[in-house]
């Protein structure tokens, strides 16, 4: 009795009344929510500092504190985005970058700098190869690699600290290189802005460009969301993972070099704690630990928020130990929030 329709072509165009459009506003808010937090923190900072928040010295100290974390976080964003949570070898990548730069300072500042960065790239290449090619567990591998690097550095330099001015020989060239090395973390452009902060921002811009405007960034999007799907779409997942870790190694070792210059000394413990503080910043910035979600713009906000938070803690008058406590709580809260929102996403 029902009429037989031989060309049922149009039935797919039926109107699905159940779907409601997600407003553009909520999308923007979701993406840039961290900047609302930043503004709130600035207001809190102005209150607890009784108006001295915007003084030159305070801005300077926030930017300095944030610069190193920001450099590392710009690369770590790729690791988290790729679905590998965090690079546990960040502390020793930073240390190794600093050590190698100082050790080779006699070659001149620029060659030493490049050697330091290349060390980080090599460490990243190794991790990327193990994780991309042999599918090693990212946390366990980088954790173990961190220990191995720590052993190598202590063995080679006997656990000593290196000072660029002592390593440098008597030639004027080497002494000049050592002085240039010390100065990179103490150069200010204008009154407030340190060179470190500018380098950090440049690295963020570069990371943003790589993440959003390159084929690698687009491939990473698929690899980070679902490794198997990427593999079955013909994407070279090994190559993508290697690039991810090389970028991360380069950013971490660059930060390590600036850190050595700032401390005027280079040792195996130079990067201690940067793994978790940078992950906190990256997660604050909206990266999803399962991968495939997050942005460099968000990470930048996360870094700023983290810096201001620490600054506020100093204004309140908390010591180092109490700061650890607060940082631990913030980290665990962010991890919880991340998992929670992930579950919400999974359900939707």
């Amino acid at each position: 009795m029902s009429e037989v329709n031989n060309k049922p072509k149009t039935n797919t165009a039926k109107v699905d009344t159940r779907k409601e459009e997600i407003s553009k506003f909520s999308l923007i808010f979701n993406k840039l929510g961290i900047y609302v937090v930043v503004v709130l923190l600035i207001i809190i900072g102005m209150i607890v500092s009784k108006g001295s928040f915007f003084t030159a010295s305070n801005i300077q100290s926030i930017l300095e504190a944030v610069a190193l974390i920001g450099m590392v976080a710009s690369g770590l964003t790729f690791v988290t985005y790729s679905g590998n949570w965090v690079d546990m070898a960040i502390p020793l990548t930073m240390a190794a970058g600093g050590m190698l730069t100082v050790q080779t300072i006699n070659l001149g500042f620029i060659p030493a700098l490049l050697i330091g960065i290349a060390t980080g790239a090599l460490i990243g290449l190794t991790s990327g190869f193990m994780i991309g090619k042999f599918r090693a567990n990212a946390i366990i591998w980088t954790w173990g690699f961190n220990l191995l690097l720590s052993g190598v550095i202590r063995f080679v330099w006997g656990g000593k600290q290196l000072y660029a001015d002592q390593v440098a020989n008597d030639s004027e060239y080497a002494q000049h290189a050592a002085n240039t090395f010390f100065s990179i973390s103490r150069t200010y452009i204008g009154k407030y802005i340190s060179l470190m902060a500018i380098v950090m921002i440049l690295m963020m811009v570069a990371a943003w460009f790589i993440h959003t405007k390159t084929k690698f960034g687009q491939e990473l999007k698929i690899v980070g969301t679902n490794y198997e799907v990427a593999k079955y779409s013909g994407i070279n997942c090994t190559k993508v993972m290697i690039i991810v870790y090389v970028i991360n190694g380069i950013t971490a070792s660059t930060a390590g070099i600036f850190f050595s210059a700032l401390r005027k000394t280079s040792s195996y413990e130079n990067g201690t704690g940067y793994d978790f503080s940078c992950l906190t910043a990256v997660l604050l910035g909206g990266c999803l630990m399962d991968g495939g979600k997050g942005s460099v713009v968000g990470t930048f906000g996360g870094v700023i928020a983290y810096g201001i938070l620490n600054n506020i803690l100093s204004w309140i008058g908390l010591g180092t130990y109490e700061k650890y406590l607060v940082q631990g709580v913030v980290f665990l809260f962010i991890v919880w929030l991340n998992t929670y929102s992930n579950r919400k996403l999974g359900k939707a």
Binding site: A13, R18, K213, E219, K221, I222, N226, Y232
Partner: protein, 512 residues
């Protein structure tokens, strides 16, 4: 009617005007659903119609549904799986939830193993109880101490039902219970279901197979777009009517006759293709414009051949010729560049990055065409993305929308669109329409026909026999890794395919 409930309404299950909203979606919209004790009630609908959500509601997975649920006349708040179980709802899901590496009795009595004392379980009593449960599903001679991994898929399915029966449910929900069973096993299952029905259980039966519904169900409810659209005794309806109310309009024959678009020109030739233990000395030829089906029972080596052709697995021997020239395929990326694409089965695991947008998914095989050098700009691919979205009739046609907010059928269309965009000459389709609704199935079939008529070729791997007979221009039969015969277009029908796959019939030539 067995021991029918003495409630006022007379219904074992009475869901009144229930709704469930997901962010951006009203998945179930004021649905009334009633099941009597001693009745098998079929619940039907296309993918995304809201069946699963309705059943999840019943299983207590949501604590924010609206509306009222009465079980045996008493109002119940099913706000957690535990409560739901306590009030007598038993769920048997499509994916087995039995743990394969532990024994049957431990699976059956999980969470309520009888204890001898504070520390040890009473194994003897547990085995006794398990035997009683197994007897209810016709497995009285199965030893409850062996591991689930050692029994057949059908038995495992029945063990799953027995496990649920252990909680003495009043309402039993069977979600696609036959999807992994052979037709003989289906009959076995039906006998059990009829038994349970006579014992007074209210049974909700979810299935895509119309034939099964007519065989086993007493009542049928059809859902569409989150609403109930039809509910009647099975005797008062027929296939056409059911399909019509599922799709929203009447449909004609799903597989209309079509002309083969195969030309004489050769597209792909495979010689002596071998991967030890999976397939051996396989030879076949694929013509331009042809849909070639590779048929065989599960485990015959169909997917393995596809994986070998596209470089996912290393092969041990054999040659591949494209357009008459020998090619070597190193990996899938290489294979796509050389013109062989592979639409995998199981879109959620291998097919689609669900948390990304439609556009990102469709472009995932052609990222290298997204700009000059290392640069990528989605705008360069926007044209082809929109074109494929329209061709596949993805609804809503929004490339920025995340794939996980689409229904199963539309997700499958996105997967198909992704491979159309890849622009390969030979596309291997592995179960291209498994578990999707009729509307999406028709669209996909039409697109495949269209695709080959434009001078491409397809290799179809499908367990859906009507699909193979409707779509294929030629079929080669694979059995235990060997090609044992070939069926020309005229000879392809469900019977001949099934007989040949079992190694018998006129088309088997056993050319080992």
């Amino acid at each position: 009617m067995g021991n029918a409930s003495n409630s006022e309404s007379g219904y074992a299950l009475d869901m009144r005007s229930v709704s469930k909203r997901f962010p951006g979606t009203l998945a179930v919209d004021k649905v009334d659903f009633q099941v009597r004790a001693g009745e098998v009630h079929a619940l039907m609908g296309e993918n995304g119609a809201g069946k699963s959500t309705l059943m999840k509601m019943l299983a207590g997975l949501f604590n924010d549904y609206t509306g009222e649920i009465y079980i045996n006349g008493e109002k119940r708040e099913l706000h957690s799986p535990m409560l739901s179980k306590e009030y007598g709802v038993g769920m048997v899901y499509q994916e087995l939830s039995v743990a394969r590496s532990i024994s049957i009795y431990e699976n059956l009595l999980v969470g309520r193993l009888p204890k001898k004392n504070a520390l040890f379980i009473d194994k003897k009593k547990a085995i006794e109880e398990s035997k009683k449960l197994l007897a209810r599903v016709g497995l009285s001679n199965l030893d409850p101490t062996i591991n689930v991994s050692e029994i057949s898929q059908c038995d495992a399915q029945l063990v799953e039902i027995a496990k649920v029966l252990g909680n003495e449910p009043k309402i039993l929900v069977l979600d696609e219970p036959t999807s992994a069973l052979s037709s003989e096993e289906v009959q076995r299952l039906f006998t059990i279901v009829r038994n349970l029905k006579e014992q007074g259980l209210a049974i909700v039966y979810i299935s895509h197979h119309l034939a099964e519904i007519f065989e086993i169900a007493d009542m049928v409810t059809v859902m569409r777009d989150g609403k109930k659209v039809d509910c009647c005794p099975i005797a008062e309806t027929n296939t056409e009517k059911l399909v019509a109310s599922m799709v929203g309009k009447s449909v004609g024959n799903l597989y209309e006759a079509h002309e083969s678009s195969a030309e004489s020109e050769e597209m792909l030739r495979v010689e002596d293709f071998t991967r030890w233990g999976f397939f051996h000395h396989v030879n076949f030829q694929l013509k331009k414009g042809e849909v070639l089906a590779i048929c065989g029972l599960a485990g015959a080596g169909r997917s393995e051949i596809a994986r070998g052709l596209t470089g996912i697995d290393k092969i041990n021997g054999g040659k591949i010729f494209m357009h008459g020239k020998e090619i070597e395929v190193k990996n899938l990326g290489d294979s796509i560049r050389k013109g062989i694409g592979y639409l995998t089965e199981d879109r959620k695991v291998y097919g689609l990055a669900l948390r990304q947008s439609v556009g990102d998914n469709i472009s995932s095989c052609i990222i290298n065409k997204g700009g000059k050098g290392i640069l990528y700009n989605e705008k360069n691919l926007q044209k082809i993305i929109n074109e494929k979205i329209n061709e596949m009739e993805v609804y809503p046609a929004d490339p920025d929308r995340l794939v996980n907010s689409f229904s199963g059928g539309n997700q499958q269309k996105v997967l198909m669109a992704k491979w159309l965009a890849a622009g390969v000459d030979v596309l291997i389709l592995d179960e291209p329409t498994r578990g999707v609704d009729i509307g999406a199935k028709q669209t996909i079939h039409e697109v495949v026909r269209n695709y080959v008529s434009q001078g491409h070729s397809c290799i179809l791997l499908s367990s859906d026999l009507p699909e193979v007979s409707g779509l294929a221009d030629r079929a080669i039969i694979l059995r235990e890794g060997h090609v044992i015969g070939e069926i020309p277009k005229a000879g392809i029908n469900e019977n001949s395919l099934l007989i040949a796959a079992n190694g018998e019939g006129e088309y088997v030539s056993c050319q080992k």
